[in-house]
Amino acid sequence: MTTASVEAPVVVRAQGVSKRFVIRKEKSLKERIVNFGRSNLHKEDFWALRDVTLDIEAGTTIGLVGANGSGKSTLLKVIGGIIQANEGTLERRGRMAALLELGAGFHPDLTGRENVFLNAAILGLSQKQTEQYFDSIVDFSEIRDFIDTQVKFYSSGMYVRLAFAIAVHVDPDILLVDEVLAVGDEPFQRKCMAKIEEFQREGRTIIFVSHSAEQIQSLCDRVVVLSHGKVVYDGPTDEGIDALRASFEGR
């Protein structure tokens, strides 16, 4: 979905990005003192990402795929700045919105309206912009009758509808999505997909993690297959799906 006449600029540039996780198994002071000196035995060290280098051009929809634990979500979080890489550099330009979990900033005791403002601010909208988009957000979510109810009384469907509606109104250049593309009932799912296609037409970059080969095939124009933290394939979608299947067999 790249634009024809203008050369698409690179919006995300990762160079040799590596991420090491150290997982300690005990947390309290007592346990630390008791295990002092032996504490290395209680550490687990593994590389979630190893030397990942890739450029992402504006307007592409790129799918990050791989088996569980292959590092795709970690890569998404590093791109989002939520976790820092140990090695390598990551550069980015343009406004970014991360949809790693719908309604991550929702507070159950606040009303839908208050949560719209809070969540929009978390995703980077100003108060004024939120006021501007407010009606459009509520219309998209189709829960106008409940907008002044505390969200703890919402059904899970209403919750994700509102969260998704906010997220798509943030006007990002880069959208990071982790398995949350299709939510709610079928008509709403269609609406979500239509919105994503609109995003693609508008030249927004979408980076998403998914296990659904079908979704990847219908949306992406580029696929990156990860295995054990390394990029094993980077290219067009159809071969990407084959490479993903191969990586499943190879592990």
């Binding site: 634009t3 504006a58 307007g59 601010a121 978390i122 030249g203």
Partner: protein, 322 residues
């Protein structure tokens, strides 16, 4: 030109931003951090409101509770320490004195308790969205300031009703002392909130430490008691050690500002046998209070910068450690 092409052109003109803060130190990081916070000030306001709302959710009296607690404490200390233990005999306008100390202490302890747990209790957000993480301890400061404001209104109201409104230049000590408390409170909140992610014991340790510091500050007894005790025990340096705590100094300055009766000789009653008036002499204030406040403010700002650097170093791993 299509929307997509316009976007591509605009993006091509933007410079690349390095994601993930440089871990190495230096003043630039501090200033960059402050800039990032300034860019998110609207969100900060919303987070403060959220914190205030969730605290008294579904309660009939709502934020009145933020007044009931300190007023109850005032009553307890007034009766138990003031009357039963007799501290009020040497301290004129004992109620104003105690409430002044409690109000400022309340600000400090609330900033630190709420600030310490602020990162851990916002785990859901920190794992899923990138925000400058200093915003969470800052939001605790905001909601503590709100409660402080409400108590200040009561305190000032009380001085007016009792005819004790401190109309003098000493009043300037009130904002100065509040500022000192804010600087130290924020520095500790930022530092402890980061440490608490790695070692949850910090939040319990903080509770104990605050209890000790409450009694180590001139809140329910006056500074003159400390000086007398130091003289009696032949340890004249005890007063200097006591006053070295920025919290003690700030509370003393605050009292000097708002508690007018402390700066003058006050007739406390008459001696029944001789008929002579019993006079409580003006309270002793530490020498060079202005200079002390200034120095402590500067040290506090330095501490704040260090705390922010430590926070910045630790925050890279928050998302995976929580």
């Amino acid at each position: 030109m299509s929307v997509a092409q316009e976007r591509a052109q605009r993006l091509a003109a933007l410079p690349f931003e390095r994601i993930g803060r440089p871990v190495s130190g230096g003043g630039g990081g501090f200033i960059a951090g402050m800039k990032e916070i300034a860019a998110h000030r609207e969100l900060l306001g919303l987070l403060v409101r959220r914190e205030l709302k969730q605290r008294y959710k579904d309660s009939a009296l709502g934020f009145l509770w933020s007044l009931i607690r300190p007023l109850t404490m005032l009553l307890i200390y007034y009766v138990a320490i003031g009357q039963f233990l007799g501290a009020a005999r040497g301290i004129p306008q004992f109620a104003i004195f105690v409430f002044a100390g409690l109000t400022l202490w309340g600000l400090y302890s609330e900033i630190i308790t709420a600030g310490t747990t602020s990162i851990v209790s916002n785990a859901g957000l920190i794992k899923k969205v990138y925000l400058p993480r200093e915003i969470f301890p800052l939001a605790s400061v905001g909601s503590a300031l709100f409660n402080f404001g409400v108590q200040m209104i009561v305190l000032v109201g009380a001085t007016v009703v009792l005819g004790q409104f401190p109309l003098s230049w000493n009043l300037l000590y009130v904002p100065a002392a509040t500022l000192i408390i804010l600087i130290y409170g924020l520095a500790l909140a930022i530092l402890l909130s980061a440490l608490n992610v790695y070692l949850r014991d910090v939040q319990y340790l903080v509770e104990v430490a605050l209890l000790i510091f409450f009694w180590a500050s001139p809140i329910v007894y006056s500074w003159s008691f400390v000086l007398e005790a130091a003289e009696r025990s032949d340890l004249p340096w005890l007063g200097d050690v006591y006053i070295a705590s920025p919290i003690s100094t700030a509370i003393l300055a605050f009292q000097k500002g708002i508690w007018a009766a402390g700066s003058q000789d006050v007739v406390m009653g008459t001696n029944e046998q001789t008929g002579e008036p019993i006079i409580a002499a003006a309270q002793p204030w530490p020498a060079d209070l202005d200079l002390r406040l200034l120095l402590m403010g500067l040290i506090g700002i330095l501490l704040l910068a260090i705390a922010q650097r430590v926070f910045s170093r630790l925050q890279g791993n928050f998302a995976q450690e929580i």
